[in-house]
């Protein structure tokens, strides 16, 4: 069975599993679930697995996508059921379906962020945060392979909204998933660089939905 796509979540203790380790973890889960993955041909055969978008260590997600190919036939619901018994704590198979859309058509991501403020009132931070992210351009220093470059993150933010509860500001944003990729962690590093008085004591993010360029949910 080719063109299979798994939607899974990565939360809790599993958010510290790195991208490379996740690949190994998934391969082993398929083997434990007694579902033989298709391997590539050649001198160094490897399982044909492809993740949609790499997720940073420490970030949670409710919408990770993994493409895979299986030898033999199995009911799609059976695949998800078996995987769930074979996955480690914090990784949950949500759905398995036949993919029709290529990963390159992914464009936008819904992310939820939590900014924690220890000794400041979160409500007081709101106006500053709203003003900051309403700017037309937010130019930050970004480390790349070729050194430290200036990068404008404003075009990568399609929308952003804030809400508060005790000690924390919750944000909901639609950001660019690829071309250009906007790592949500840059939202808090932008504050650190340009508006340190707004910088939270700790920021964490969760991916909640993936869209194409027309803002249709990407499947």
């Amino acid at each position: 069975m080719d063109n299979l796509r798994l939607k899974f979540s990565k939360t809790g203790r599993a958010i510290y599993i790195s991208h490379l380790d996740l690949l190994r973890t998934m391969q082993r889960a398929f083997l434990r679930a007694d579902m033989p993955l298709k391997y590539s041909e050649g001198f160094n055969p490897h399982a044909q697995l492809a993740f949609a978008l790499p997720l940073s260590v420490g970030a949670s997600s409710l919408c990770e996508l993994l493409d895979f190919k299986l030898n033999g036939f199995m009911e799609l619901s059976e695949i998800a059921y078996r995987l769930n018994k074979a996955l480690p704590e914090g990784i949950e198979a949500l759905e398995v379906y036949e993919s029709e859309n290529k990963f390159k058509n992914i464009k936008w991501l819904d992310v939820e962020g939590i900014f924690e403020y220890d000794d400041r009132t979160s409500l007081d931070m709101l106006p500053g945060l709203m003003d900051f992210f309403a700017r037309d351009s937010i130019i930050i220093k970004k480390k790349t392979k070729s050194g430290i470059n200036d990068s404008d993150i404003a075009p990568g933010i399609r929308s952003i909204a804030f809400d508060t509860s005790a000690g924390r500001v919750k944000l909901k944003a639609v950001i660019s998933a690829q071309e250009p990729t906007l790592n949500p962690e840059l939202l808090s590093s932008a504050l650190e660089q340009l508006a340190p008085e707004l910088k939270p004591d700790f920021a964490s993010f969760t991916r909640t939905q993936i869209y194409d360029s027309e803002m249709n949910i990407f499947r």
Binding site: Y16, I17, R24, P45
Partner: protein, 611 residues
């Protein structure tokens, strides 16, 4: 998860080491648990999770109803700094609870260089280092593992030590602890009772008394202490517990594969080898049972590699059949089978060709010494002819990567023996030149030497280690004679070996040095990033202890050794006679040729030794 921890984890290297949550971890309901044990490995997660002993004990202890055993490993330096800054005490992986919440804290002590880590981890947990400073019954702090065959250097820090194999001892100890907790025993009462369990050594029940020259006069057994603590073994290896649902780490570890344990003990009796004496007698596991355990483990983990573990794989009688049985499952599932610890003979090569159908990895042999005389003296039963013949066949078969391991500083070694190492390497190179099937690929011959460390309970336990200057001179001599480009030469540092020699044959006074090293910043001493020879030397000076007294001094046959209260099973008279045979360059037969009456058979309660 603790909020402070959540903030730290994204900043440290490889955070998945510190979170637990792996597949096959054991989680229990605290309401159903009345005893909690932390199984602590005093090194990093990657090393500790690769240790088969930890996996066996974790599974075996968790089989006990009402007992929850969790894991704990040493944090890397960056994590330790963060933990200390945020005042997060050391925790166990499964529950995330601090070690102070546990009833029993058991360290696995496989090598001496981990000793400073034990102290560092106790400190990170907020637990007083010395046994005498811990007055309440729990948490009990103890250790087991190979280094514990000489428990004295760590005696002041540990409430007791396990001598030998832990599978059964652990359960007996925890059962006693349950009774003690229920009946509110004092720690003293508990330790007196624990000393009655075979294999448990309670240091506070023995008092060292010294002669004027600094040697031990007596290790006085106080009231209630057994004369000797007999090493504990599992006599029936077929029915012994083996974990077929091992934890699958979510991050890469050193030995990331299924490990099958073929047998314990070794028939060879190489005179320098501690494992060869302290794991006797030989007890094997049935071939079909092993195939079952292998398949079960592969299915429950999803690992794609399996390896065989023992002190000398070639000596497992049904090895060929075992490999066939495993390959029947492995080949159709694309699972790799690897065979370490093979002897340098043709049989091994055939077997390796069979299991390595795809890739040819390197071959590794350990002749240990360059001349036949010295190999005879250490009872390493390898003939040069066999080694060269194997290399020849290997080169013809397309192998072009050979590693040769040797030791420098073995008893009776002369410059002639040292130079013979380079001659042997040259002979191997010539063989390649005349027999290689594909010369275009070139050849890699790697020669490695380590510095011999005399170990307790071996025929060389009375020997002096060569001093560092002399060791370095021998390395230099060898280096100057190792000129071929295709041969690369690696040697171990003499300084770690000196410290290892002191710690392995130290007495109770050495504990003060370990503590001083830790106090001055010592930890993770098995890592070159952290090991500091200067720190150790300073600590010796500050404690008024001469490391050469322990490392470089020859003992007489009647000296009271710090480990003399430990009855390892092999008789000291046997060890002494083996030492004398070394000086006559005389071989001893292996256990299968002829029983040498070493004494270990007496531990089998009438069962047989598979020698």
């Amino acid at each position: 998860m603790d909020k402070r921890l959540r903030r730290i984890l994204p900043r440290v290297q490889k955070p998945a080491r510190y979170t637990g949550g792996e597949y096959n971890q054991i989680i229990k309901d605290k309401a159903q648990v009345d005893l909690r044990m932390a199984l602590v490995f005093p090194d990093t997660y990657e090393i500790g999770m690769s240790n088969l002993g930890i996996r066996i004990l974790y599974g075996a202890i968790n089989e006990m109803p009402g007992v929850w055993c969790e894991r704990c490993f040493a944090p890397w330096g960056d994590m330790e700094d963060e933990m200390r800054r945020a005042s997060i005490p050391l925790w166990a992986l499964e529950s995330g609870d601090p070690l102070t919440a546990f009833d029993a804290i058991g360290f696995s002590l496989g090598y001496e260089m981990a000793y400073t880590n034990v102290l560092n981890m106790l400190d990170l947990a907020g637990i007083p280092l010395r046994s005498a400073e811990r007055s309440s019954l729990t948490p009990l702090v103890f250790a087991g593992g190979t280094s514990c065959v000489n428990p004295e250097p760590m005696a002041d820090f540990l409430d007791f030590c396990f001598i030998g194999e832990g599978e059964e001892m652990d359960k007996e100890l925890l059962t006693l602890l349950r009774q003690a907790k229920n009946q509110n025993w004092s720690k003293q009462d508990f330790l007196s009772e624990a000393a009655k369990i075979e294999g448990i050594y309670v240091p506070s029940l023995y008092e060292p008394i010294y002669n004027d020259d600094g040697t031990l006069k007596e290790l006085k057994a106080l009231e209630g202490a057994p004369e000797f603590v007999k090493r504990r073994i599992v006599t029936d290896f077929d029915t012994a517990y083996f974990p077929t649902k091992p934890i699958v780490p979510s991050t890469e570890i050193v030995h990331d594969r299924v490990t099958l344990e073929l047998f314990r003990g070794c028939i060879r009796g190489c005179r320098f080898c501690q494992a060869g004496f302290v794991y006797r007698p030989v007890r094997s596991r049935d071939k079909d049972r092993l195939v079952e355990q292998g398949i079960e483990s592969l299915e429950s983990t999803g690992y794609q590699e399996i390896t065989l573990s023992s002190l000398s794989t070639s000596d497992y009688r049904p090895l060929s059949g075992l490999c066939d049985g495993l390959l029947d499952f492995c080949v159709p599932h694309s699972i790799g089978l690897s065979l370490p610890s093979l002897r340098a003979d043709n049989f091994s090569l055939d077997l390796m060709s069979k299991v390595q159908q795809v890739r040819k990895s390197g071959l590794t042999f350990a002749p240990e010494a360059g001349t036949q005389r010295l190999r005879d003296a250490i009872n390493k039963n390898v003939l040069e002819e066999d080694l060269l013949n194997t290399c020849k066949i290997a080169f013809e078969g397309g192998w072009n990567n050979i590693k040769l391991y040797f030791m420098l500083g073995l008893p009776t070694e002369t410059d002639e023996d040292v130079l013979a190492i380079s001659e042997l390497a040259m002979k191997v190179l010539w063989l390649w030149k005349s027999h290689a099937s594909n010369k275009a690929r070139g050849v890699n011959i790697t020669v490695s030497t380590s510095c011999f460390v005399p170990k307790p309970h071996t025929p060389f336990q009375w020997e002096a280690q060569v001093d560092m200057e002399e060791y370095r001179r021998r390395v230099k001599l060898l280096r100057e004679n190792m000129r071929a480009k295709a041969i690369s030469y690696n040697w171990h540092d003499a300084d770690t070996s000196l410290i290892e020699a002191v710690l392995s044959r130290g007495d109770r006074r050495v504990g003060a040095v370990i503590e001083e090293v830790w106090k001055t910043g010592g930890k993770l001493d098995s890592w070159t990033e952290y090991f500091s020879f200067e720190r150790w030397i300073k600590a010796f000076e500050n404690c008024g202890i001469d490391p050469k007294f322990y490392a470089c001094r020859e003992r007489t046959s009647d000296e009271v050794l710090p480990w003399s209260r430990v009855d390892i099973g092999v008789k000291p008279e046997f060890l002494w006679s083996e030492r004398e045979k070394c000086y006559r360059a005389e071989l001893s037969p292996d256990c299968r040729n002829k029983c040498t009456n070493c004494g270990a058979l007496s531990m089998m309660n009438g069962g047989r030794c598979d020698g």
